[in-house]
């Protein structure tokens, strides 16, 4: 039974993070945040018309308002009066506020908010079941599997169009691809996926699922195809790790999974090959090698064939401790030798300076 919760998590994570790749690439990650609030307006309006809190129209209206949100954001940012991120903040607070006003003014006696319609607690997912071909499966699993398939089909079919409109919309236009069509198709899928995902796993996780795996993948790849595959991989990884961790420590699944996603992102951010830690290490190593090479180059200059420690140190900005470490290293590797308190190059050291000159494209000593 409980393992179904894991399946719901995984399928939701995959459906959202697949589209999340394109949101990240288009600098629209914030949009999911906006949609997550404005869909309440759709729910409220549909409720006023149907007066039924469980009507499927509430979900449909929520998706429509999601698309509308994106459209209005677009219109506002096209005026160039404010930047896109400001437009997002403006539009979503405005629509959300309208929804709140409507709720408090006209639906005072009904408890109507996101939690009611979009229940959003993944461990309850197995209780709401549906019969498909004689099998009883959680409704959320069924819905999100279908959405996942639609999203996959969309990405496979319009792979090239998604790529070109995300990278270079002007070129796409000249080449005869409507950026607007791709944009709104994508945003419609984002809205529908978001609404279904809210219903299944709750709002915190949805925003996290849309953005975190795609951003993590973005740090590691150099091609869009690999970003998609890796984003799906992180979606599954975070879900599995979040699920088991939450059960082991008896924590909320949504909170734990979000937290795990943050951890995976941080690990990749710090430790990927261009990451913060590796670039620090690499810089330190390069600096060390460079200093050693410069000491050898100095001893290779004609007037400096053998020098005392003080003479060498006067050429560099090194502490005595750093200096001794470099000298020890060079002595140990037989690049230099010490005679009467003076250092000079060994044949091996001379050879090294020769290659260093080639490497740094410096002129050879005469």
């Amino acid at each position: 039974m409980m393992v179904e919760v894991l399946f719901v998590l995984i399928v939701t994570a995959m459906a959202t993070s697949l589209l999340g790749v394109f949101l990240v690439l288009r600098g629209m990650a914030m949009v999911t945040d906006a949609i997550s609030h404005t869909i309440l307006l759709g729910i409220v309006l549909a409720f006023f018309i149907t007066n039924d809190i469980r009507s499927p129209w509430l979900i449909i209206a929520a998706s429509l308002v999601g698309v509308l949100t994106v459209y209005i954001i677009e219109l506002v940012s096209q005026t160039r009066l404010i930047r896109q991120d400001a437009a997002i903040g403006f539009v979503f607070t405005a629509l959300f506020a309208i929804a709140i006003i409507l709720v408090s003014k006209y639906a005072g006696d009904v408890h109507l908010d996101l939690d009611v319609v979009l229940m959003g607690e993944v461990i309850f997912a197995p209780f709401n079941r549906i019969e498909i071909l004689g099998f009883s499966i959680p409704n959320a699993l069924w819905q999100l599997s279908i959405i996942l398939l639609i999203n996959i089909a969309f990405v496979l079919l319009f792979y090239k169009e998604l790529k070109i409109t995300s990278f270079d919309p002007k070129f796409a236009y000249i080449a005869g691809f409507s950026a607007a069509f791709i944009h709104y198709a994508l945003m419609t899928l984002v809205s529908v996926t978001a609404v279904a995902a809210f219903d299944a796993v709750g709002s915190i996780l949805v925003i996290n699922f849309f953005v975190a795996p795609a951003l993590t993948a973005y740090l590691l790849v150099k091609r869009m195809g690999s970003m998609i595959m890796l984003s799906l991989f992180f979606a599954v990884l975070n879900s599995v790790a979040g699920y088991y961790t939450s059960f082991y420590f008896d924590l909320s699944v949504a909170g734990t999974t979000s937290f795990i996603a943050l951890i995976t992102f941080m690990i990749v951010f710090l430790f990927n090959s261009n990451g913060w830690v590796s670039s620090r290490i690499q810089k330190a190593r390069q600096k060390k090698q460079f200093n050693r090479a410069m000491i050898l180059m100095l001893l290779n200059e004609q007037s400096h064939e053998s020098l005392t420690q003080e003479e060498i140190m006067s050429h560099f900005n090194l502490t005595p401790k750093q200096f001794n470490r470099h000298i020890d290293h060079l002595l140990l590797n037989e690049y230099i030798e010490k005679q009467n308190k003076k250092y000079r190059l060994t044949p091996r050291g001379v050879e090294f300076t020769h290659y260093t000159r080639i490497k740094y494209e410096l002129p050879e000593m005469i």
Partner: protein
């Protein structure tokens, strides 16, 4: 000779402020046409209008007598470097392959043949060694060469470039000009926004001198004159603000 591209009474404004004013001009087929003018003269605005990327207040753009919209696929655009997202996860070859998308239409993916066309475009631009490099790891001149390779892979008739020589070294500059002259032999037309007045004569055979409106246009021999240049660069400066 009927011109390839005709611009008829084009007016463009950004929020009330006119950027182009009564622009009438034409581009001759198989020419290498430079568009020159001071900063803010509307050069980028003009070429974007020709490609229908900007909606003008009024005016017409025609390619071979028909609205330019119908002929956009024949145009290869080499944007200013800053115009695309260089952190996009794509390799050099991915970007050059995009030139082939024009011939594919919706949904169909590029195939082997497209790939070999893209590779030979990279060879032409002496960039084949970089084909698997991520685009963010390129220098400014290499980025420019990738864009031109994409235009070559597109196999367009009309090449529109916005300052392709900006911030690149002399070797790359000569390479690009050489390719341009060679493609002209094959019948292509070039419209290039150019910033260095001292090389206009050497690199181009036609010129449009622009400052909000057309100061002069035509062959280098007829239009590239001191008095025209002075009018565009000195006499008019500040008079439109």
């Amino acid at each position: 000779m009927t011109p390839l591209i005709t611009v008829k009474d084009l007016n463009v404004a950004y929020q009330e402020k006119p950027a182009l004013w009564h622009v009438n001009m034409s581009i001759q087929e198989n020419s290498r046409t430079a568009i020159v003018g001071p900063n803010g003269a509307g050069k980028s605005t003009l070429i974007k209008s020709i490609m229908k990327l900007i909606r003008p207040v009024s005016g017409k753009i025609e390619i071979e007598g028909r609205d330019a919209r119908h002929a956009l696929k024949r145009v290869a655009y080499v944007p200013q470097k800053g115009e695309v997202n260089w952190d996009f996860p794509a390799t050099v070859l991915d970007v050059v392959l995009m030139g082939r998308y024009v011939h594919k239409g919706w949904i169909k993916r590029p195939n082997r043949k497209d790939e070999s066309i893209a590779l030979s475009a990279l060879e032409t631009m002496k960039m084949e060694a970089f084909k698997n490099r991520q685009i963010s790891e390129l220098s400014g001149g290499q980025k420019q060469r990738v864009f031109i390779a994409r235009a070559i892979a597109q196999d367009a008739d009309i090449y529109i470039m916005d300052e392709p020589l900006q911030g690149i070294d002399i070797t790359t500059e000569k390479l690009i000009i050489g390719i341009m002259k060679q493609l002209q032999q094959e019948g292509k037309t070039f419209i290039v926004v150019h910033h260095h007045l001292d090389t206009v004569e050497e690199y181009f055979d036609h010129v449009v001198i622009l400052n909000k409106t057309v100061i002069a246009e035509g062959t280098i021999g007829s239009a590239w004159r001191k008095e025209n240049i002075n009018r565009a660069y000195y006499e008019m400066s500040g008079s439109h603000d």
